[in-house]
């Protein structure tokens, strides 16, 4: 896997000149009396690498869930390439080009590595029940094409040899990588990664950082990353958004955010300002 990217050192983002890929305007999410996300404004441009950080319970995964349609915002709008996606079902939003991984690995345990990735090709599937039953030449050709595309992706990410292994038999690091591959197979323009470095040791984290940058460059997609690990976030993100109790308290380049007193306060408490 070629690591063309530079690690360490923040890169200042070139703001998207045209319409942003993803835009949240004044998004609020309330569960009865609890406000999980409050008046959030967020924009992600083409080929952006943004980090979303904040203390535990800040609402980071909730923001993901809002974007991917698990929750519908109580107020505000979510637009993807200008089209409103708030309130749409998750599978519809994936069809728009948004893919995600989960905080706790959600691979399909009884399916093989190969089949897990194969699932992503549903979006572009031309055939359904009828064709599976008849098994004509068109069907067989399409299945072969899918199989080769799946293998191609698996090989790029060094999972090819494990193609028939049940997904849950893989070592943890490989499982996380498989999840990313699976999400990529849906051909998204925006990839949401939910704590991809969780549970990894320093070596694995460096490999992950290289992987994320590789993905961004090879597939030319935007990545929004929720992460607790500062090494990873500061290392690869061009822009960082900080959330606390559902409110955005800071946004900017890694250096700025790191020094921002509000951010320090949120993480360490009032006494440390």
């Amino acid at each position: 896997m070629e690591a063309e990217a530079q690690t360490g050192g923040a890169r200042v983002s070139g703001a998207a000149a045209t319409e942003p890929l993803l835009q949240l305007d004044h998004c609020t999410l309330r569960f009865g009396g609890l406000t999980a996300v409050s008046d959030l404004n967020l924009a992600i441009g083409e080929q952006d690498l943004v980090g979303l950080i904040g203390p535990n319970g800040a609402g980071k995964t909730t923001v993901f869930n809002l974007i991917t349609g698990v929750y519908c915002p109580t107020e505000g709008s979510i637009r993807y390439r200008g089209v409103s996606i708030a309130g749409k079902k998750p599978y519809q939003i994936t069809a728009h080009g948004v893919a995600r991984t989960f905080q706790n690995s959600r691979l399909f345990p009884s399916l093989s590595v190969f089949d897990n990735v194969r699932m992503a090709f549903h979006l572009h599937l031309a055939h359904g029940v009828r064709h599976s039953l008849w098994r004509g030449r068109g069907f067989l050709r399409a299945e072969k094409e899918i199989a080769s595309q799946v293998m191609e992706m698996l090989d790029i990410f060094h999972l090819g040899k494990l193609r028939d292994a049940p997904a849950n038999s893989l070592p943890y690091g490989d499982q996380r990588r498989l999840e990313i591959v699976r999400a990529l197979a849906t051909r998204p323009s925006l990839l949401l990664l939910d704590e991809p470095a969780a549970g990894m040791n320093p070596t694995e984290k460096v490999a992950l950082m290289k992987l994320i940058e590789f993905v961004e460059q090879k597939y030319r997609i935007s990545i929004l990353l929720v992460e607790h690990d500062m090494q990873v976030v500061m290392g690869i993100c061009r822009r960082i958004i900080v959330l606390d109790y559902g409110v955005k308290i800071a946004e900017g380049a890694p250096g700025e955010v790191r020094a921002n007193p509000k951010v320090i306060q949120a993480y360490l408490g009032r006494d440390h300002t």
Binding site: F31, T61, N65, V70, F102
Partner: protein, 297 residues
């Protein structure tokens, strides 16, 4: 008007019995998130216990009847605890489906063993308590058996409420219902609390079984199936896991069923319970008194 009031009394009487059975379902679900399919058969065993124990006391007295009921409740409590220990505890932690199937297996086992041991043909339930009918001058009739249903159910509900809210074991039950791990970290013996819950629920089912048999005096090994399913619906109606909800649900369902039986749709009265179930699960799955659970993604 008299007809309406009569239906009301009958409905409350049936509803009270459903409430007793529903309590068992709801307590077990609250603590284990699992529907004890075999609960309805404990109800049946309770009725048969009443049948056999009543032979010990040929004089039909109030005291004797209460003793028979208490004995039946104790026997069924033990039975419930044994079933939990043998069939459900080994599966704690495995998929919900496996426990559900096991519960179905236990239910079938009890029904068929009952058929073998007690005989398949229906038996006439004896008069446990001295029977009298009380009729008002407007024609309203309440039988002493129905009065007993109200009295016993009320007494048991009060006792249950006291146990759950004012005793150590009751508090432990509520803690385990929230979170097993946290409760055990607080020093609660989760296994014992679960056994106690099963025992308590089974005792209530036994009481329900005897009261039911008193009012519909023909008992057979499959008598628990339909009342059990209806009581389950009652528990869901009130909010499964919620104790006052089970009581409320039982009474409501009893009333609905009695009024339907009195109307032109009477042949569909058995299906009414299922219709109610489906409606509730579609419109308000948490039930009337239940809390809405949000799944964390």
């Amino acid at each position: 008007m008299t007809v309406f009031l009569q239906q009301l009394i009958n409905g409350l009487s049936v509803g009270a019995i459903y409430a007793l059975i529903a309590l068992g379902y709801t307590m077990v679900y609250g603590i284990l998130r699992f529907i004890n399919f075999a609960h309805s058969d404990i109800f049946m065993v309770g009725a048969y216990c009443g049948f056999y124990f009543s032979r010990m006391d040929p004089r039909h007295s109030l005291a004797g009847g209460l003793v028979v009921m208490a004995l039946a409740m104790m026997v069924c409590a033990v039975l419930g605890i044994i079933i939990e220990r043998l069939a459900y505890r080994p599966l704690r932690g495995s998929s919900n489906l496996a426990v559900l199937i096991t519960a179905i297996g236990v239910s079938i086992f009890l029904e068929n063993t009952g058929q073998l041991v007690f005989g398949a043909d229906p038996k006439a339930f004896p008069e446990l308590f001295p029977e009298r009918n009380f009729t008002s001058h407007s024609g309203l009739t309440v039988s002493s058996d129905q009065l007993l249903v109200f009295a016993v159910t009320a007494a048991l509900l009060v006792a249950l409420q006291w146990i759950v809210l004012h005793t150590k074991i009751g508090t432990a039950m509520r803690a385990v219902a929230f979170n097993h791990q946290a409760a055990s970290l607080m020093g609660i013996n989760v296994d014992r609390v679960i056994s106690f819950t099963f025992g308590l629920g089974s005792a209530l089912a036994a009481a329900g079984g005897i009261l039911y048999a008193m009012n519909y005096p023909s008992i057979d090994p499959y008598m628990g199936v339909l009342p059990g399913l209806k009581a389950f619906v009652a528990a869901v109606l009130g909010g499964i896991g919620n104790i006052p909800g089970a009581a409320l649900g039982g009474v409501l369902l009893g009333l609905i069923e009695t009024f339907v039986k009195g109307s032109q749709f009477s042949t569909y009265s058995d299906a009414i319970a299922f219709a109610v179930l489906i409606l509730i699960l579609l419109l308000r799955p948490a039930g009337l008194l239940g809390k809405v659970q949000v799944e964390k993604v």
